[in-house]
Amino acid sequence: MSRRKLVRPYLFLLPTLLILIVYSYLPVFYGIFLSFQDMNPGTGEMKFAGLKNYSRILQDAALGESLKNTLVYVVGATAVVVVFGLIVASILNSKIRGTSFYLTILFIPWVLSDVVVGNTWTWLFNPDVGVLKYLFEPLGIDPSILLNNPKYAMFGVIIVTLWKMLAYNTILLLAGMQNLSKDYIEAAQLDGCTGMQLKRYIVLPILTPTIITVILLSIINCISQTGMILVLTNGGPLTSTQTLAVLLYKEAFVNFNFSSATAMSMVLAVINIAIVLVYLRLTRKTTVDQ
């Protein structure tokens, strides 16, 4: 083999590799470095700070509250999205009329930007002249509290997340269901398995790895969700929807307090990595089990 031939694959991969190194890998290390520095926001001068940034954010009540909000958002949104995804996917999988029409409709919110999504829903939930307030008035409910009352605002954010993300989760689950071999089902039916039994003992176990993957993707997406929450509530009212990602965005790019913000971003990254590692553990187990 000539030398040119040997080098060729690396040459083809080089541009992609360069982009990933400069824009994905180096920033992580630079970020770790920054989190141990005391940075003057005006001049950009840096001084070694040791663990000062970390101890400062840990003493700040805002971090604890944002972690709590993140947990509520991630668990709530993932639960809602996965449950609805399963329902819709199993309906679409059962040969009903209009499947491709419904899929197209479901996907429209998914191709919209966070800003369009945020604009659409803040307008629907408008507390003064909002259309939802008007439509639900006869029922004695005012849905506008779903974005404008600190007690309920997180519910509103979760509903909007469902609106945007349902299509993506449905399609993953639908793919899992269609991969399910007909042989299993027919064999179980020959053995006298019916309706619910079939779902409980055959379909669900085979679908479990797909469901776990969908849960992971949803968790990862919700943990870093920043844009949509910024547009919808800007973390408010008060700080009721301020997740860690939103808090650190504001700390960095509204207050320009890079030292605290990088320390927070490391906390966020560690949480994210821990969840992926748990996922890898789980999937290894389920594949061994089968």
């Binding site: 970020g31 920054l34 040969k95 930007s113 800003v115 307008w123």
Partner: protein
Amino acid sequence: MQITESRNHAAVKVSKGGGKNVRVKTAKQVFMILLTIFMVFPLYWSLITALKSRELVNTYPPVFFSREFSLENFSYIFNNGNTMIMLRNSFLFSTVATLLSIILAGLAAYTLSRFQFRGKNLFNILILCPMLIPGITNMIPLYSAYSKIGWLNTPWGLILLYLPGLLPLPITILRNYMSSIPLALEEAAMIDGCSRGKLLVKVVLPLLSPGILAVGLINFISVWNEFLITLIFTTQENMKTMTLGLYSIMSMVSVHKGVINATAIVSLVPVVLLFLVFRKRFINSMLDGAVKG
């Protein structure tokens, strides 16, 4: 993978009573129709609002239909402000970033599916690992680097920032696509004395074009919609995209909701049209990338 209405449960249904079967089917349709309303109504309301004048927008109870509906808000936004500049920026950034990402991802996918070389597995891992790091985590170090070298508010600086997010999924999709194309064609071309460059352009590219179209579509839409990176790395008016422009007028009290929603409609029409035209290919490649990726 194709979306087909699966026959998995067909046999189960037959074993049930006929009356129950119909009721279940009706219940499913009712559920899907309610879901369709939930999905569509918000956008319908945004569109209706875009057609209202300043007076109509703020009436309560809200107006569902009126003879006074007009396109005045649309003509207003095209005649005032930076709408044309923002549309131009959106098209420019999306097109250039998409083209670059296709070239890079196409080369990488081709290499991964057609060459055996040391470090292939390492490269596969290197593509996936950035998924571990939340996007916002990298923004601060990159911002601080950009402000030092003066790359804030530059088109190329912005496009390079979009790129890492546009590579992993397309590489996966195109690699799967390459694997389904038989090697024989390329071998025949090689035997006929075709050079590697010619082979890429004349043989591989046409074969790969359906995959490239799907990937290009996904990337174009994702850059068009990009919000956070653009928000952080641009401050100048002449760098604003449609998405960012909508964000900046959204919270202005002086701009009425009709104009804001008209801007939203203008910013969503290109991507929704692209999606509707290519919806089959779009959905199928989403399936493909997500299942195998």
